[in-house]
């Protein structure tokens, strides 16, 4: 019995040491985390706490790489920021935009969605790990984290666990050298090169025509509707966009679902999927769905024109 007591005491001592290390080291990493000057965490932190621009753009890589925000700022004489984050989806946009609405009222929000934005994809739930470093920031963030699974409630109590698999990324983005996805680029992430040499003409996008195995995500749909409602309630103009595809796209169940929903809500939707200025032009794309810098500039100029013509923002002074 004595041996068990001694052993238990040592075990408790060890666990206390682990908890203390977790707290102290976690705090240290958090300090470095907050000092990031580029990358997805910089963008997310900025959106959750410090966004103050007139025009805010949200979306995934199709937003980050296609909306040339420095160009927009220059031509429209307004402050603009691109909060696009690679690989993200509606489950990410919802908590970020709702958090931002609690402290800032921009003049315009642009939300870029993919044609299959409302599809169910279990991987999208695991991508909520991006919010772990922001655990307990607010209820939207915590709800997003718990979408990964209920055990996150307990795992996220560990300060170190919140930075799982991020240390290298944090260190890489802590220096002031990167331009892309930084304050210097206003969040814009330009890409270079084109797809003219490769055979990026396979029309895999039309896989959406297959009706079988299509499953829509009710939560994403609910989030989109709630966002539209809340942004409207805050009297902020909202535009939904879908950026161009190299091969364009015919009608399919995914697009129809999104179009029907947006039409029912009456929100402005600018669909560039089949825009003739981009379709088939390999010099404007780096792959089937991502524009290069030249393509992004062309797209951005088009968006600027549409914003001006729509008179969303009466104080714009676009060229």
């Amino acid at each position: 019995m004595k041996e068990i007591k001694v052993f238990s005491r040592k075990l408790i001592l060890l666990m206390l040491g682990i908890i203390a290390t977790d707290v102290v080291l976690g705090l240290f990493i958090h300090i470095i985390f907050d000092k990031q000057k580029s990358g997805k965490y910089f963008i997310t932190t900025y959106a959750l706490n410090k966004a103050n621009q007139d025009i805010l753009i949200f979306g995934n890589s199709h937003a980050a790489e296609h909306f040339n925000t420095p160009l927009m700022a220059e031509k429209m004489k307004l402050s603009v920021f691109n909060f696009g984050v690679q690989g993200e989806n509606m489950l990410y946009y919802y908590p970020v935009i709702e958090s931002m609405l609690s402290y800032h009222k921009p003049k315009l929000i642009i939300l870029n969605l993919d044609y299959n934005e409302l599809n169910f994809n279990s991987d999208d739930y695991q991508r909520m790990a991006i919010f772990l470093p922001y655990f307990h920031q607010n209820k939207f963030i915590d709800s997003a984290i718990f979408l990964m699974g209920q055990k996150q409630k307990y795992l996220a109590l560990s300060s170190l666990y919140r930075y799982n698999s991020t240390v290298g990324y944090i260190l890489l983005n802590s220096s002031n050298k990167a331009y892309n996805k930084s304050y210097k680029s206003l969040g814009f992430d330009p890409q270079y090169g084109n797809t003219c040499q490769s055979n990026a003409t396979t029309d895999k996008e039309n896989e959406g025509n297959k009706k079988q195995n299509v499953k829509f995500d009710e939560l994403k749909t609910r989030y989109l509707l709630t966002l539209i409602k809340d942004i409207r309630a805050a009297k902020i103009p909202l535009v939904i966009t879908t950026t161009p595809l190299f091969t364009g796209m015919g009608e399919n169940v995914h697009r129809q679902k999104l179009e029907q929903l947006l039409k029912a809500t009456g929100v402005k939707y600018w669909d560039y999927i089949n825009n003739e200025n981009f379709k088939g032009k390999c010099n404007l794309f780096t792959d089937k769905s991502h524009l290069n810098k030249e393509g992004a500039d062309l797209f951005t100029n088009s968006i600027i024109r549409q914003i001006t013509e729509s008179k969303f923002i009466t104080s714009t002074k676009a060229n």
Partner: protein, 469 residues
């Protein structure tokens, strides 16, 4: 219930606590109930299959011991047929049926035998072999039959090694269920440390490497030779860390309660020959095949070298098939068999003495083993041959994954693993971390290990590779 899950940690703590609180009389019952529960968390109804083989082998053991002459062989045969039969139905039926369909279609006929839509019972290959070793050892007179049905059932179902080994022998394990294991803090510490080593290997190395390996191998038709080469090397470390981690956790969990299970891995990638590799890799399986199949075929005591080589090849072909119902595993087994035959023909010394010769032999052996792993990992023989061809062509650029820093985590994990294994292989006395005499060093290592798991471990509950066997 996977070892690398919160539910297993809770299960282990509860079972171990109850184990030490209970008197010796009831401990086997607790372990048996816990093992049943553990097994049923996968597919509950399959416990009936396990139950069937346990009942057959329990009675077979008694009848073999009581019988005389050819009746002993009769009961042994019945037991082996029951075990292999269950294995064949659940593991090989559809594979055999598919090949029959292909053969018949070449001859212009149609196969009317239906396919079965059944899932493979978890750990089937492992506990079947463990059960067979019991009846064979009783037959050989090396083991008395176990008269306590509960103890025998526990021997087959003992939860730490139920689903992925080590494949125990009755002489080693059965008597331990009768021994009184007092709480011993040194032994409990040693067991917990071994479990921690297992978790480190699984969460930080194996599951991290699997992200890159899966990405490359799942799209092997579009990947470059360089990426496929790197993915293959990564897979070599992934499968080693994954499997040896399971063994470490199993051995450690058993050790905590006072049970000694056999060592299953002995730093296999430091082998200087393929034959040495097979003395260091999955030791419980390779010794099982050596003792029960290779020796039964005559082993190396046969009259001709041809017969000896044939015995080797048969053993490895069956070993390949044991791993999975796919031609890729058969080819993997055959490759290993041929490599052993070639080594035997070349009559190489077991180990080289000079450093450079040793290093060269280790690198050559590792490269040959990696080549065989391509067939182990690929989903079809065609895919495997294509991958091998691309690796040798060595064209295209190396894909670093997305995000790139995860690739570098993988490389760092391999470097650290190799360093630790190197020190344990060549300088074990001067490199003691978990067993260091200084309490400060020990506790620091424990804390650093937990920190590493929290910061770099892949914590989404990846399954162990050998569970599928």
């Amino acid at each position: 219930m996977l070892f690398n899950s919160l539910s297993f940690v809770i299960f282990f703590v509860i079972v171990t606590t109850l184990y030490f609180l209970l008197s010796q009389k009831y401990r086997w019952l607790l372990l048996l109930i816990a093992s049943c529960y553990f097994y049923m968390t996968f597919i509950p109804v399959y416990i009936l299959i396990l139950g069937f083989t346990i009942v057959v082998d329990y009675f077979a053991g008694i009848y073999i011991e009581n019988a005389r002459g050819t009746r002993r062989k009769f009961f042994l045969t019945l037991s082996l047929i029951a075990n292999i039969g269950v294995l064949c139905i659940f593991k090989y039926y559809n594979f055999l049926n598919e090949n029959l369909s292909i053969l018949l279609s070449h001859l212009g006929y149609r196969n009317v035998i239906p396919y079965l839509t059944i899932l493979l019972p978890i750990g089937l290959s492992f506990h079947t072999f463990q059960a067979m070793s019991y009846t064979i050892e009783v037959y050989r007179g090396n083991q008395k039959s176990e008269r306590n049905f509960g103890i025998y059932a526990l021997y087959v179902m003992f939860y730490p090694q139920l689903v992925a080994g080590p494949i125990e022998r009755p002489q080693n394990l059965l008597h331990q269920f009768y021994e009184h294991h007092k709480f011993n803090s040194e032994r409990v510490s040693a067991g917990l440390k071994q479990m921690m080593v297992g978790f480190l290997k699984k969460l930080i190395v194996a599951d991290r490497l699997s992200i890159y390996v899966d990405t490359i191998y799942n799209t092997s038709d579009v990947q470059s030779g360089k990426s496929l080469l790197v993915a293959t090397v990564f897979f070599a470390f992934q499968i080693y860390c994954d499997f040896s981690a399971y063994s470490d956790i199993a051995i450690g969990a058993a050790k905590v309660m006072g049970f000694d299970l056999m060592k299953n891995f002995n730093r296999p990638y430091f082998s200087q020959s393929v034959s040495e590799f097979w003395r260091r890799w999955h030791i419980s399986l390779s010794t099982w095949f050596k003792d029960y199949l290779y020796f039964s075929l005559g082993g190396s005591r046969v009259k001709t070298s041809f017969r000896r080589y044939l015995n080797l090849l048969i053993v490895f072909l069956i070993s390949g098939l044991w791993h999975g119902a796919n031609w890729t595993f058969v080819i993997w087994g055959a490759l290993n068999g041929f490599l052993l035959i070639i080594e035997s023909m070349l009559n190489l010394p077991n180990r080289s003495k000079t450093l450079w010769q040793r290093l060269l032999r280790i690198i050559i052996t590792f490269s040959l083993i990696c080549l065989t792993w391509v067939f182990f990992r690929a989903t079809s023989a065609n895919e495997a041959f294509t991958i091998v061809r691309k690796i040798f062509q060595f064209k295209g650029s190396l894909y670093l994954g997305n995000p790139k820093d995860h690739f570098f985590y993988s490389v760092a994990a391999i470097i650290v693993l190799l360093f630790i294994e190197f020190m344990r292989e060549y300088k074990p006395q001067s490199f003691k971390l978990l067993d260091n005499k200084s309490i400060i060093v020990r506790y620091s290592i424990y804390i650093v290990s937990i920190v590493l798991i929290l910061l770099f471990g892949v914590l989404d509950g990846g399954q162990f590779i050998y569970f599928q066997f």
